[in-house]
């Protein structure tokens, strides 16, 4: 009898490792563009959905989210790389891609009007549109100002890190957070840098500006408040997790979520804690304020409706699937309805007052 055990292991070891490498590669390290959460934009009774499997959809909200068009079309063999969060700009929809730059699509038809290449780097941030100019950043580490109608680049500003968030605009100044730990203040007309502030970690959310201050979160677990003119730090507030999404400023209170599962409300002037609300998982998205209610999406698959004054829960909507039903993107409000894009590709329309589901669309499954 020969002793095959060591030999068998000699074969099994590499094969098992190879199998594991392939498996892990699928989840952690393949060259495929990394997926992002789906992004929503609303205008004129149409909801635009981008991300996840790389398509852009126009959904008719008056007819239960029925598809108006999708890009690329269902029968297209074009690679679907629309992974950025969409933004409405007049009659155009601006959407970033995983490698082909920024696309301007006709909102009525989905036809491409123009594109801007970004050196094969992803554009994930939602462009900021103001006065016919769109400002967008990408993983090529540049912020660009683009004339919306023509697609002409007006200026570019280089940073030293990926840009995963749109800038904020106030008083002719742009405030941009980048993954190089810096918050930049630029002149919106020329793109010239006015000042920069070095935070302790990467900045992946859009800043909020108001009351002479600019607020932003960082991966160093802090929310910062700076003087909007000079860039000097006024205060900072430490959480137990990354502050990924941008803060929301409303009525002298700063609302934001963190990966420590909490939604915080701070006094904008002093940074003192007004209340915090604990969800079942991390809170990535910027909260939404709509008609007296604060809406916060959590990765636990719930959208929480909170009293902005006290942090008391009014209701919560559960996607029925804590894994595939995670909520990572910002909810969108239109009239008395709140729309949420779920990680399983579905879009839910909820009654803003009660949280009752009005309809659930599954555009990816509809041909």
């Amino acid at each position: 009898m020969k002793h095959r055990i060591p030999w068998g292991l000699g074969v099994l070891v590499p094969l098992l490792l190879a199998f594991l490498f392939v498996g892990a590669g699928c989840s952690g390290g393949s060259a495929t563009p990394p997926p992002i959460w789906p992004g929503l934009a609303y205008a004129d009774n149409v909801l635009y959905l981008a991300g996840l499997d790389g398509h852009v959809w126009a959904l008719d909200i008056g007819r239960g989210g029925q598809e108006l068009w999708r890009v690329p079309p269902a029968d297209s063999k074009e690679p679907a790389g629309f992974h950025g969060e969409p933004a409405v700009a007049g009659d155009l929809l601006l959407v970033g891609t995983s490698a082909q730059g920024l696309y301007a699509l006709d909102r009525a038809t989905g036809q491409t009007r123009w594109t801007i290449a970004t050196a094969n780097k992803a554009v994930l941030a939602r462009p900021l549109v103001s006065d016919g100019v769109a400002y967008f950043g990408g993983e090529d580490k540049k912020l660009r100002a683009v004339e919306v109608q023509s697609g002409r680049v007006l200026w570019e500003f280089p940073t030293e890190g990926w840009i995963w968030a749109s800038p904020a605009l106030a008083g002719g100044r742009l405030y941009l957070g980048a993954m190089d730990h810096r918050l930049y203040c630029l002149d919106a007309a020329s793109g010239q840098k006015l000042w920069q502030f070095e935070a302790g970690g990467a900045i992946a959310g859009t800043p909020a500006v108001g009351g002479g201050m600019v607020f932003f979160g960082s991966f160093d677990s802090s929310l910062y408040a700076l003087d909007a003119v000079s860039g000097e730090q006024r205060w900072s507030f430490k959480t137990e997790g990354w502050v990924w999404g941008g803060p929301l400023l409303h009525d002298g209170v700063v609302y934001f979520g963190a990966t420590d599962h909490n939604v915080y409300a701070l006094e904008a002037e002093t940074g003192s804690l007004r209340w915090k609300f604990t969800t079942g998982d991390l809170v990535r998205a910027t909260p939404l304020y709509h008609e007296g209610t604060l809406y916060a999406a959590s990765r636990d698959g719930r959208l929480y409706a909170l009293d902005p004054q006290t942090g008391q829960q009014k209701w919560s909507f559960f996607t029925d699937d804590p894994k595939a039903g995670q909520l990572l993107s910002e909810p969108v409000a239109a009239g008395d309805t709140i729309y949420v894009a779920i990680m399983n590709g579905r879009v839910a329309a909820l009654d803003a007052a009660s949280g009752a589901q009005r309809w659930l669309a599954n555009p990816a499954q509809t041909k």
């Binding site: 020969k2 060591p6 074969v11 892990a24 590669g25 390290g29 060259a31 997926p35 992002i36 991390l282």
Partner: protein, 291 residues
């Protein structure tokens, strides 16, 4: 189970890797290399018994062949005699397996920690945020890691295909120095096909994977080759060094048994020539004791 894995394997490795990244001037390629070397050295006490066990088993081959011939019609007696032989020689035939199995999770954890630290997209980075120790909050300020090194974006495949070629070459050479030639045609054939297929397979994966992982393969292979050189010695190559004679010599120098000392392991076994001699010596000693 998933939580145990994350808590005891993935998180310590991932945080260790980030610590090294910070300590080495935020050079992630250097962090991967140093971390791989440290893990390989730390697991040496686990891999050495396996190599020793394989070596002992190899030494017993001539005696086992004799027993097989002697008891070819009585499997029960054969099994008893084999167990007696193992007991006298102080060998546990499965002794080499356990250390090898224990190393599995370490390799997989190492691989996963590198893959996760190289998080290239928002969703991957969200997962990473869960696994960084809250007690070391400054580690969070190191992400996302700077993943450029020379011509490489460590989060993407090597565009020049240099690393995949190095992966194939070092994997092949490591297998070569760890696998003694076998005179058993079936084993030899399987060994040979594995020595070709596995490096090609890893090379193929390296074409798809982030180059940071290909770098890990290369460093791990080189460390394995060096360790093998200084422990049992390279066995599958011949540079005129002690212990690298091909198995052909065994067949001609193994009169103790008409069947050559068959190598059946692809892992770290001693040279066939030495093995045969030692096997004969052991047989002589044993006969002397009995006599």
């Amino acid at each position: 189970m998933g939580q145990i894995w994350t808590q005891f394997f993935l998180q310590p490795m991932l945080n260790g890797l980030l610590l090294l990244y910070g300590a080495l001037g935020q050079n992630f390629a250097a962090a991967i290399a140093v971390f791989t070397i440290i893990i390989r050295l730390l697991t040496l006490p686990l891999s050495l018994p396996q190599q020793r066990s394989a070596k002992k088993m190899q030494e017993l081959q001539p005696r086992l062949q004799e027993l097989q011939k002697k008891y070819k019609d009585d499997k029960e007696k054969l099994a008893q005699a084999q167990m007696e032989l193992y007991r006298e020689a102080g060998v546990n035939p499965l002794g080499g397996c356990l250390p090898l199995l224990i190393q599995f999770p370490i390799w997989i954890g190492l691989y996963q920690s590198i893959a996760q630290t190289l998080a290239a997209g928002p969703l991957q980075l969200l997962n990473l945020s869960n696994n960084i120790y809250k007690s070391l909050p400054w580690l969070s300020s190191l992400v996302p890691v700077k993943n450029t090194f020379l011509w490489l974006d460590l989060g993407k495949p090597d565009p020049l295909y240099i690393l995949p070629v190095l992966v194939v070459a070092t994997t092949w050479f490591q297998q070569k120095v760890m696998s003694p030639p076998s005179s058993d045609p079936q084993s030899a054939s399987m060994n040979q096909s594995m020595q070709v297929m596995f490096p090609l397979m890893l090379g193929f994966f390296s074409l798809q994977f982030p180059s940071g992982l290909a770098l890990y393969f290369v460093v791990s292979n080189i460390v394995g080759i060096v360790i093998q050189y200084f422990t049992p010695g390279w066995v599958g190559v011949s540079f005129g060094k002690k212990g690298v004679q091909p198995a052909k010599a065994v067949t001609s120098k193994a009169p103790a048994s008409s069947v050559p000392a068959t190598s059946t392991s692809t892992e770290a076994e001693p040279a066939g020539g030495q093995t045969a001699k030692k096997g004969q010596q052991y047989g002589k000693k044993r006969r002397k004791r009995r006599g």
